[in-house]
Symmetry: C2
Subunit: 410 residues, 2 copies
């Protein structure tokens, strides 16, 4: 029992195929469309943005979860978000699903869609439907095909993001969970990440699939912040086709817990990859809060520290200005005693305690700067107020973030 | 009845003197201490940060409001915030008050203090007490003395910020209200601005003085955001010495309303100056929301738009990427119908409507870029959902902000 990390992404599980292509939505022949297809219909779980402004594909995909519908394919485009697009936006989602249904020989009602890119612009629907045809013709079940799909959904991402595990159940049978995600700016998920697609061949009921996802997302994707902006398009979809032929998971038993642990590993890996690839970022900034009186307080504290523009700018400058960390904790809304806070910075270069009992400690600034110059930085905050903890992930705030976002549409 | 804008700041009202000096807290002989003194004891009103981590001077000054104490002098230092400094920090506040009391010949209990600068560092108390002596010897009642004080409290501010009005009461008598403030980074006040000091010669009871300030701050200082970070030191103090000899204001009558209107004008002017001088900012970014179903919703919407790093980066790039504005409205927590939103950008270069009924409108990108290239930009958002409104102020997010904050302590 347990899980093993394996290579691959959305095609790691049995019976899933994927493809990516350049449909001409973005300029200069860059890949901008992806498709993920199961050989048989799947039960579907999903979590979505809680932004009041929801993109058309988010409205469409939520219907699968709310109405307990089966899904068999996901069509994704980058370049245009299909948000703030009114009735036309919804019509274009239906046209995309229809085109995919025809190309794949499945009901359009089995096709989920997702979009990411500029808000307020209409989809170039002819290019989308043409792209759907190209994708349907080039689907493959190899690891490379999964990577092609992961690459095609990138916007300002600099690397594609995949993760997969093999889960072993108590009875010795096993299943695979694999996924990919994109997200680099406008990242401060409240329901899940920007776009994440996870597939599994586990046999599991729709209820248990949704429960596993809903349990895992708050501690993984929802603990990432790049810039505090919750997108209109945040979507995390999880499809299960049952081809692993394990004893179907129908209740919260040992097999469910094994599945959930494997799903957690996939989501946590994707979440960290997303934080590390934050727009303009040069490092992953992890903050673990320990000793909080509740998990809610621990989360508020950890998230506030990684979300503060001032802590992020300090890290970009490799400057251990940890008073800013305490300041961010102070306005987080969490309960804690500022005079009992211990704070330690750590990375592959070593570790220094910069605050003890809420007051600055003696430490070498030179050492602190060396620690903050690595590409994965960790801050451990002990608040001595209970036994609850949480971890959040972010990145530094650099000139490059401003450059990327000052002129994103051009 | 009404008010007239006049020149000056904290020395505009009768009986107030001020001074600034370089006490050696900052490097290179930069001004870093200020003092404001009334010729007689004043009733005191104040609003303070709601950050759980409160600087020692904030704890000290809150005592004046909570215990209804009189005040006669304010000693301010820049360079070190005296936050996260434990018991020593509080001892240094008392030593500062004692030194000022001795130098001015007033009880130390009449001395308020305020600090701004690096968090977690102890005050160089010898330089502070020495500076207090220099300030006491150089106090002046001229406009220039007020400006010197306003300059001495600057940190990363690029200009000093002052405002003053003469209020005329219904009976024909009048009084003056004048103030100064500093604040450029770590600005997202929840109770008031970073540091703001306002003086008046109006005769007014402590209760009415506090009521006027508490009424005005939520719509002025609290509607400014530079970077979403609520400081540990936010302080707004208002001292009234009664020398104008108007009929004392003791209830919410016409004279009270006239006083409050004048105070509003002073606070609004200071708030806008602060937003425009945001760290690295090249423009003032004002967002007015109209037609909301409640003032609370209008405020949430306006504040979310000016606080979003993505809208701020778009403005830095003179890019009318207004989908981001709708996105920021969507995650603000406010009630509104995204499909009824109209959005207009306006400045001295003209105006364009970029969204109509939640969908992008036809407009000239060239014109929009010209509008966004001015140094005061206004965004008017009509949500067609009621008759409540609110205005928030922010600035653009530039490379310079990152440069300033990546290496603030060096």
């Amino acid at each position: 029992m347990g899980y093993t990390v394996i290579s691959g992404g959305v095609t790691a599980a049995k019976g899933f195929r994927a493809a990516g292509c350049a449909a001409g939505i973005k300029q200069e022949g860059r890949a901008d469309m992806a498709m993920i297809v199961s050989v048989k219909p799947c039960v579907v779980a999903g979590t979505f943005t809680n932004n009041k402004v929801k993109a058309a594909p988010v409205v469409w995909d939520r219907g699968f979860v709310l109405d307990e519908k089966l899904g068999q394919a996901i069509v994704v485009n980058a370049g245009v978000a299909n948000a703030c697009t009114g009735e036309d936006g919804m019509i274009y989602v239906r046209m995309t699903a229809k085109a995919a249904g025809e190309a794949l020989g499945i009901p359009p009602a089995y096709v989920l869609t997702a979009s990411t890119g500029v808000i307020g612009r209409q989809l170039p629907i002819d290019r989308i439907t043409e792209g759907v045809g190209v994708l349907a013709d080039t689907l493959g079940e190899s690891e490379e095909s999964g990577t092609e799909a992961a690459r095609a959904i990138m916007t300002t991402d600099t690397v594609s993001k995949e993760a997969a595990v093999r889960v072993t159940f108590p009875d010795g049978s096993s299943a695979v969970i694999g996924g990919c995600c994109k997200g680099s700016g406008m990242i401060h998920p409240n329901m899940c990440t920007m776009l994440s697609f996870i597939t599994t061949d586990a046999a599991i009921s729709r209820e248990m699939l949704q429960k596993a996802l809903s349990d895992v997302v708050p501690d993984t994707f929802n603990m990432v912040s790049v810039d505090g902006d919750t997108s209109t398009n945040d979507t995390c979809l999880l499809l299960a086709n049952g081809l692993a032929e394990n004893e179907p998971i129908k209740e919260e038993d040992g097999a469910f817990r094994a599945f959930r642990a494997g799903l957690f590993a996939v989501c946590e890996t994707l979440a960290k990859k997303m934080a590390k690839d934050g727009e303009g970022a040069t490092c992953l900034f992890e903050c673990e809060v320990r000793g909080a009186r509740s998990v809610k307080d621990a989360k508020l504290l950890a998230r506030s520290v990684v979300s503060s523009t001032l802590t992020k700018a300090a890290i970009a400058g490799h400057d251990a200005n940890c008073g800013r960390f305490l300041c961010a904790m102070g306005y987080s809304g969490a309960e804690f005693d500022p005079e009992r806070v211990d704070l330690t910075l750590t990375s592959s270069a070593g570790s220094v305690q910069t605050f003890r009992n809420g007051v600055i400690a003696e430490y070498s600034e030179e050492k602190a700067t060396e620690i903050l110059s690595q590409d994965e930085i960790r801050c451990v905050i002990e608040v001595h107020d209970g036994d609850c903890g949480a971890t959040a992930w972010g990145c530094d705030l650099t000139h490059e973030y401003v450059t990327i976002n000052a002129d994103y549409r051009s």
